[in-house]
């Protein structure tokens, strides 16, 4: 069967395929197409990103002055609780699920995910638990005010005494989120293990898929621990059991163990796919193979393994004995090694290449630099004596926002820009993209760098008010925060106007190597008319070898790519 790619030869598509890309109502339906579900996840997640960001704007507004003078303290505490909860459970997890959903079947040469209906169910749970979470603003007593960790005994205090209170709704929403995530994890892991195209051994699979598989493995084995802790917390809160309530014999520190046993690996669930994105993008925009592909691929699983044995580093100042603190210091420091492998590999990939600074590359580079900084402060935090001083201060808040916003969100933006043409069949406006990058990069550094000296000087986190000595850093941080709020505007403008009016995109606008770039933009209904047979490793830039088997296609491919 000859597979001639017409799209590659004539970049402008005249006729839209009937019932497909132009059929926009399908994005509001219960579709089982992974491409539709992927975009649904991304868009819904972005809406919650804006909501969580709006809460952050109020927080920064409060913190621009030392006194608690903008909102009531109970309101402030609800704000930071919901900001964290929304950003983690309603933005980063769903948006990365969306990217994985969209890209994995295409990248491995499959028609869809292993369980398309389960996929749709898992997605539609997201708006449901999102609404439940937001509804907590409307119940007496307000939303949860115990932080996104929900540590007992504070989370058990329930001042209104009602059964249905903000904390209850919070636990319910998080539990549903866990169920949705596990459904997604089962789906993705099964898909990657069982549905790769012929010829695609694990070491011919793109790193993004490796990273996603590693991340979803964490979800599978980590989430249930959180569920267990959440169930026990819920019973303590609603029924009066004594699991974590010290007044009746319970142990609040055990909750911390349950919580962090999942929530530490959870941060790797967030960053691993972003690492995967970086690994995909740098070869394309430097026109060079990924340096040390095998090391990079395997390091994802080394990180997964190690991520399971570091959780106590969140509890160095808690009710943990000295030997435990030392043990987990060692394991935490160790995890920097596979992470360092990736960073060096990316630098080596870029070095000596032919670099093009398109918007995706700018975001990826910015993300890499921010991650480098965050990794260094992370190693500092792993050192127990230092952590004792800065634990629960703004130093930690600065550190993790550098990771989450500076690296992960910028990586997510990079991915959205890079695959926007594939997903929508349109090109975005490069100028707006570059503006978005500048505002974001400056905003991230202005917002989160000052948090480090504030923490070093002893400013605790989660405070609605602070001593005047911290005012200077907070003013800078708030200005950065407002800049970040503004930075979302060119992005929104770009996405919406480009999707409607952008120039039509060819199958492979970046001349990238990968199965997803062999199909049209957007791809047809079941992705591949004939499942290709993969013959070479990914990222074969400069090598002039065909990616898939077909005597005719190899000449077409090479003429298309060189």
């Amino acid at each position: 069967m000859t597979e001639i790619s017409i799209e590659a030869l004539s970049p402008n598509r005249e006729q839209p395929v009937p019932g497909e890309p132009e059929n926009w109502p399908r994005f509001f339906s219960f579709s089982t197409d992974h491409k539709v579900i992927g975009i649904q996840y991304i868009v819904v997640a972005f809406v919650f990103f804006l909501i969580g960001g709006f809460l952050a704007m109020i927080i920064r507004g409060e913190l621009i002055t030392p006194e608690a003078d903008l909102v009531d303290r109970t309101v402030y505490n609800a704000l930071f609780t919901m900001h964290g909860t929304i950003m983690l459970f309603m933005w980063t997890f769903p948006v990365l699920n969306g990217l994985a959903n969209y890209l994995v079947p295409l990248q491995i040469g499959a028609r869809d995910m292993a369980f398309p209906r389960l996929n749709a169910v898992a997605f539609w749970m997201v708006p449901v638990f999102g609404v439940i979470l937001m509804a907590s603003f409307l119940v007496p007593g307000g939303p949860s005010q115990s932080g996104w960790w929900a540590y007992p005994p504070v989370s058990l205090q329930n001042p209104t005494g009602n059964l249905i209170n903000g904390q209850f709704l919070w636990i319910l929403a998080v539990a549903l989120s866990g169920i949705s995530s596990i459904m997604g994890a089962v789906n993705i892991v099964t898909t990657i293990i069982r549905m790769r195209a012929p010829g695609m051994t694990f070491f011919k699979m793109p790193v993004f898929c490796w990273a996603v598989m590693a991340a979803q493995t964490i979800q599978l084995f980590g989430l249930p621990a959180l569920t267990a802790g959440a169930v026990m917390l819920l019973f303590d809160l609603s029924v009066g059991t004594s699991f974590f309530d010290p007044a009746t014999g319970g142990d609040p520190v055990l909750y911390q163990h349950f919580f962090w046993f999942y929530s530490h690996p959870a941060v790797y669930v967030i960053i691993l796919p972003v690492f995967g994105v970086f690994s995909e993008l740098f070869p394309v925009y430097a026109r060079k193979p990924l340096f040390g592909y095998k090391f990079v691929a395997v390091s994802s699983f080394v990180i997964t393994g190690l991520s399971a044995i570091v959780w106590v580093h969140h509890m160095f100042a808690s009710g943990t004995p000295g030997w435990m603190r030392m043990l987990f210091m060692a394991s935490t420091m160790l995890i920097s090694v596979p992470t360092g492998v990736k960073i060096f590999a990316w630098v080596a990939t870029i070095w000596g290449g032919k670099i093009k600074l398109g918007t995706p590359m700018l975001f990826a580079l910015g993300g890499l630099v921010n991650f480098l900084f965050a990794g260094i402060t992370g190693i500092m935090l792993a050192a127990v004596p230092f952590d004792i001083h800065v634990n629960n201060t703004y130093f930690v808040v600065g550190h993790f926002h550098y990771v989450i916003y500076g690296a992960a969100v910028m990586g997510i933006y990079a991915a959205i820009y890079h695959w926007f043409p594939k997903m929508t069949g349109r090109m975005y406006y490069e100028g707006l993209g570059k503006l978005h990058f500048v505002l974001t990069f400056v905003g991230v550094n202005l917002n989160f760098l000052p948090m480090h000296p504030a923490g070093l000087m002893g400013m605790p986190r989660r405070v609605a008010s602070y001593d005047p000595e911290f005012a200077y850093w907070n003013v800078l941080a708030s200005l950065g925060g407002f800049l970040l709020g503004v930075s979302t505007l060119p992005f929104l403008l770009n996405m919406i106007s480009s999707w409607i009016l952008g120039e039509k995109a060819p199958a492979n606008p970046w001349r990238a190597i990968g199965l997803e770039w062999l199909v049209s933009s957007p791809p047809p209904h079941e992705n591949f008319a004939v499942i290709p047979t993969v013959v070479s490793e990914p990222y074969g830039y400069g090598k002039n070898e065909p990616l898939i088997a077909s005597p005719m296609a190899s000449t077409e491919l090479t003429s298309e790519l060189s």
Binding site: G141, P289, I350, I355
Partner: protein, 311 residues
């Protein structure tokens, strides 16, 4: 290898080292004035980590910057770069060096933590064995203080006020006084939720856990007034749960204890309670949700000042 290249790299490494060492010295100024033995140790560790971190950051970011500035594709060049896929030696080296570095850092940190020796036993309050034994390896090298028994003080935390009890003198206060150059041994308890005992100037922190009694030690070395802050989020007025820590000479400390013991109990400091009264009397016009009521003013011999003295 090319001699010129080696010399160039050596020069760059030299400049990076110089900058890193300089930033490492700067790191001391980012911390509050060290007011305890432990602070000196922690600041050394932080300086070391900053020096190392700066070097790594400059190296990696510098390489990237060079690449991005000088290795861009020519304007109409749509070709690929060289198909370099890896270099086993390099990959092994950049796995091994971080491993060695990390072991070095961990070892140094372990020694510092051991020397600090701040955490005592954490006993469950109603009898029963201690759930955690302290690290009983190498003892502190501070020989001069060893013979003197630590000053024992009880710290009671409740939502949202700190109360201090000095058993030797049977004195209570809402301001912590400590004798200079004498090891302080605090027994931390909470009456309700998790709190965090944190004095940035001393670089010490310990979560206070309800249902447990935690022994915690450190040695102040500098007279002055410092801030104690609640570091473990504890509810509505968490941010207002602060107190002053006054380090004074041993003689002044003893004098203070004697003077204060004579004072009859009066309401101590409780800014949370003051704020709550404003809210209850609706004097601030800001909507809010129902909150746990703050504990009322503790009856103490000495209340102290609510804010740090002007510098």
């Amino acid at each position: 290898m090319n001699i010129r290249l080696i010399l160039k790299l050596a020069a760059i490494a030299g400049v990076m080292t110089a900058i890193s060492l300089w930033v490492g010295q700067l790191a001391y100024t980012w911390m509050p004035v060290p007011a305890s033995e432990e602070a000196l140790l922690v600041d050394h560790l932080f300086s070391f980590l900053t020096t190392l971190g700066t070097f790594i950051f400059l190296g990696v970011a510098g390489t990237l910057l060079y690449s991005v500035l000088f290795q861009r594709a020519a304007k109409y060049d749509e070709g690929d770069g060289p198909p370099i896929e890896g270099n086993l030696t390099l990959e092994i080296v950049w796995t091994a060096i971080p491993l060695v570095l990390v072991i070095w850092i961990a070892g140094y940190s372990y020694r510092i933590y051991d020397e600090m020796n701040i955490l005592g036993p954490m006993e469950h309050m109603h009898g029963g064995a201690a759930i955690a034994a302290p690290l009983t390896l190498a003892q502190s090298t501070d020989a001069p203080e060893a013979p003197e028994a630590p000053e024992a003080i009880e710290v009671h935390a409740r939502q949202w006020v700190w109360e201090f009890y000095y058993p030797a003198a049977d004195v209570t206060s809402t301001e912590l006084h400590l004798p200079n150059h004498r090891r302080a041994k605090l027994t931390l308890t909470s009456e309700d939720v998790l709190h965090g005992f944190y004095v940035p100037a001393f670089r010490v922190k310990q979560d206070v856990i309800p249902g447990r009694s935690i022994d915690f030690e450190f040695t102040p070395i500098r007279e002055g007034t410092y801030r104690l802050r609640d570091s473990q989020y504890s509810g509505t007025y968490f941010a207002a749960m602060q107190a002053n820590v006054v380090v004074e000479s041993s003689a002044d400390y003893q004098q203070w204890l004697t003077d204060v013991a004579a004072l009859s109990p009066q309401p101590g400091l409780n800014p949370s309670y003051d704020e709550y009264q404003v809210k209850v009397e609706n004097r601030d016009n800001r909507p809010g949700w129902k909150t746990v009521e703050p504990a009322p003013y503790p009856l103490v011999n000495y209340s102290g000042a609510s804010v740090l003295p002007e510098r």
